[in-house]
Symmetry: C3
Subunit: 423 residues, 3 copies
């Protein structure tokens, strides 16, 4: 610890002042659009309580999980507001409404998913640096997905969940631990306690986050729907997919158990939520209630198997993923993207009626796209997101290793003591 540590976050104060100036110049009140906006409060709970508490499962990293979740999100909601609306200015002005701040909240999820991959292995400054770069790239990708490819992604499984996960994995790979010659390690090293694990109580507080995420996921997925029928489909499908993913998670956790069929809290806290991600891009489509259940079953399977078999494999390749975001947000996000290809290909105006343009913006009207063309664009959106996220995360991770961002030493990982006054 050097003596200027107390000034470590001053660059953030400068960034905050720049944000203030940009708001003064560009942002005005947007009046009374979207008065009946649904989903804001629920999404807000997910971002700050849901993500925050979900990450308190580590035995000595709860302050950092809650604190940096809050710090990052508070920076990001302001910055994302500007980055997102930069693409939709009128007369060089951004009109602030409850809807546009909801969209900023949703973008915060992207950064917090990335945080989940890097939990305990990146310093506060690294996280803040990564968050600021990531938002700029994610908002550009969001524009690409929604406005160029005109892909349907109402629950953000492609542009938010998959993006955040693969950005995080890319950064994690860039920041992978350096191999050391084993002979360098003195034989008398005192064995350290492994902080990368839970206590009985920390797994209970993590459930606060997990349950609030689960509860408000139908709000999240339906928040940006427009018609009532579309809204109801989004709520019902998300609800059913979450329920069946939860049942599947419990069953599979026992099946793949290491000890006599005992349940694993990691699966319960995370894979139960994969049903919400998997249905995200298609939740407002005509997937049928039975189809929503089927999608959730697939998500539960995919996620539990990922935690059990894939995460240890990735770790051997140097890709640490503390919260297993690949299994909760990454693979279920791709799965949702591929489902959106399928259901776009199946969409007919006979089935959707007037809702067709609400769900697939580019298919409405006389010169609208064909279903096949929409399906292709869904695929492009998914692939582009994966490439941009992984590459962006990797490059950002490389830059984040610079000494000025105070990277952590191995023994400082997963430890609140680095950043916090502890009782």
């Amino acid at each position: 610890m050097h003596k200027f540590d107390r000034l470590q976050y001053l660059p953030l104060m400068l960034f905050q002042l720049v944000l203030m100036a940009l708001f003064f110049v560009f942002v005005r009140y947007g009046g009374d659009k979207h008065h009946d906006l649904r989903g804001f409060e629920g999404t807000h709970v997910m971002i700050f309580v849901g993500f925050g508490f979900l990450m308190t499962f580590l035995k000595k990293y709860a302050y950092s999980a809650l604190g940096f979740n809050w710090f990052l999100a508070a920076v990001v909601i302001q910055w994302a507001f500007l980055c997102q609306n930069f693409y939709h200015m009128e007369n060089n002005k951004i009109m602030a409404t409850k809807e546009t701040i909801l969209e900023a909240d949703i973008m915060a999820a992207t950064v917090l998913i990335t945080f989940g991959a890097l939990l305990g292995i990146a310093s506060g400054l690294q996280l803040l640096f990564i968050a600021i770069i990531e938002v700029a790239i994610a908002c550009a990708n969001f524009y690409l997905v929604g406005d160029i490819f005109k892909a349907a992604d109402v629950g953000g499984s492609i542009a938010i969940h998959a993006f955040g996960a693969y950005f995080g994995l890319g950064a994690s790979f860039a920041m992978r631990p350096q191999k050391k010659a084993t002979s360098d390690v003195p034989a008398t090293t005192v064995p350290t306690v492994d902080l990368n694990g839970p206590t009985y109580v920390s797994d209970v507080t993590a459930m606060i986050g997990s349950l609030f995420l689960w509860i408000y996921w139908p709000c999240f997925n339906s928040a940006l729907t427009t018609t009532n029928a579309e809204y109801q489909r989004a709520v019902i499908n998300t609800y059913l997919s979450l329920a069946s993913a939860t049942v599947t998670t419990f069953v599979m956790s026992s099946v793949v158990s290491k000890h006599h069929g005992k349940l694993d809290m990691v699966h319960i806290q995370n894979s139960t939520l994969a049903g919400g991600v998997a249905i995200g891009s298609v939740c407002n489509m005509h997937v049928m209630p039975g189809g929503a259940i089927a999608i959730g079953i697939g998500a539960g399977l995919l996620s539990v198997l990922g935690y059990r078999f894939l995460t240890p494999l990735l770790e051997k390749c140097g890709i640490r993923d503390t919260c297993g975001v690949n299994n909760l947000h990454g693979m279920p996000g791709i799965y949702s993207g591929l489902l959106s290809v399928l259901f776009a290909a199946l969409a007919t105006s006979g089935e959707y009626g007037e809702d067709l343009a609400a769900v697939f913006g580019a298919m409405g009207g006389e010169n609208g796209r064909t279903a096949a063309s929409q399906a292709l664009n869904q695929l492009y959106a998914t692939l582009a997101t994966m490439v941009i996220a992984t590459a962006g995360g990797f490059v950002t991770g490389l830059i984040a290793k610079l000494g000025c961002l105070s990277p952590l030493k191995d023994k400082e990982h997963y430890d609140d003591d680095v950043n916090w006054e502890l009782p």
Copy 2:
């Protein structure tokens, strides 16, 4: 532990697949009925966070409390959706709306109340078996109460709370511990730690559940109201009854204290909520704001005295009731049922105006019931619910003792170690 334990939950996976198939065959999107539905989000928080965390008070059963609460509810909301709407199909199809999934959520409360009675003494498989049978019976009873007796029960104190509690007590009695010849016990038995109790921290996490249940109870009770005046009465009455029950609970907890007037967390966590149950069946009626306060005072008294004097008595009779659901849901539910008899008898079209048919469906119109007839039907509904719940619970409990449902040994009670990988 035998070697096939890891397949123990596979029957649930089969059940999940059957549910999926039934949804494919019978369930369609219901379009845009009840767009302005109130109460869904609050009820959803109560089911998953409220009930889940309330039951974390045991020192080594928090994972099971939270986990099985979630597992059970995820199964039940799908199954209850089908069982409930089976009685109201159109052209052999069930129309899914946000309202019908709210009703499924509400039915989950019934099962979770039963879980409260059996907390720590039933195995996971037993709980799942009991839940599936209970839902079928509870939905039939719900149809009997609402559609045959046409009883008013907007907050579900009769058909949800009392039903869940007495089903649980019936099952608990069927699963009562077998008396052993004391001579069989070797004199040198190592005394085991009593796991049927709280720690300082577990009582704090239980308060998360308790407070969220309390906060959203006005949502729950008013969720299925139709007119605005009815809705406002339901919210105001529930709010006031909860407040006065809370004050009464604190006072009475001190009065009946075993040690110098000290408060007991069991009362605070539970009896405070009895005001919500007690007002449930009558919350949309003209009970007067002062009457709502009086009802809450009665509920607090009844519940604290029940915890202090009745629960130990029942336990001596072999009826274990870990969470004391008889004091929180059972007796206050009957109390609410009897209040509904009273207020039905007092109902006049002069007082209710156009709301009469909204509150008492069968009293509207020219050929509507008299107040006396409605009162009698309220009584029938309460009595029928008690008989069906108790008998149904008893028989279900007897079946649940079969060996294939892995009943617990005494030393496995209240212990997460049976089901979970612990840190």
Copy 3:
């Protein structure tokens, strides 16, 4: 402990019965005014979960924090309902609506802020006594601010936050510890554990409160707005002010740190919220989104510096403030009052249009006030609130020292063991 301890709360039962009688005489259902009321559920979460859990940070006072928060609030919402509506009766009757019970909920915040100052140093009976007196005075002051001065204070930063904080500090000063002759203390005193501090887990549970307060603050501040544009401004400004206060809090907590720039949980739990208080009185005004960010930065600065330097100073003067409510509610409340003077002075009908009368009730119409006159009244309201709160709190605190209210001895401070059966 004397033998009548178990009857200690009986006066509260009498008070509850009096409340019931008053409700029977004066309160009727208010029909269907304000059907679309926003903000009730969020405010309700803040009062019971937010304030309750925020105060669980002490290592052995979590039961009392949660319990007395609940007990006090349950008494106060009934009593405040009467006190507030006493000034607005029609034909000697109070019409209960969801809006009037929301206002009672908001008034509960005042008492809970005062509780924060006295946390761990006042007995249960003292707190209840103080609460009942405080509500009567606070409602009179609320009437003075809103109906006599006709000051704009939509988020209650003047009449709720500043009032509650200075009432608490006044009472705390009245109840300050008596100086003892040091020679009286025997040299062999066993050093007691200092209970006025957190544990690792208690700081995590306190974050539950902190985050829910933060999340629902936009609900709270906008709950009593009327037009849609006013509502949207209130939400957006509060959201931005909270975000920038949060960023500022993290940066400043590191800057003023005692140890190498480490973050202090006290700041994170509290000063992050100061942005919500600071924007409160002006959140529905045209402060500009950039202005809201600026206000939040000021609030974060003020609050962290207050915790670091002012609170220890006050403590030396005998003014204990366990939760630091002066830094979270007091100074930010005055700051908000002064901002309301400024923005009232700047208000023009050109900028506000038809909203002018919605924001500043007395400025609408032909005979409305000038901006200068409104600004002056904002100042009067702020000053009057400070004087009435401080004096009222001081006198109430003096009375609360009477022996019949069981004041605590020094060794009983911050200790749940005084009031609770502990596991």
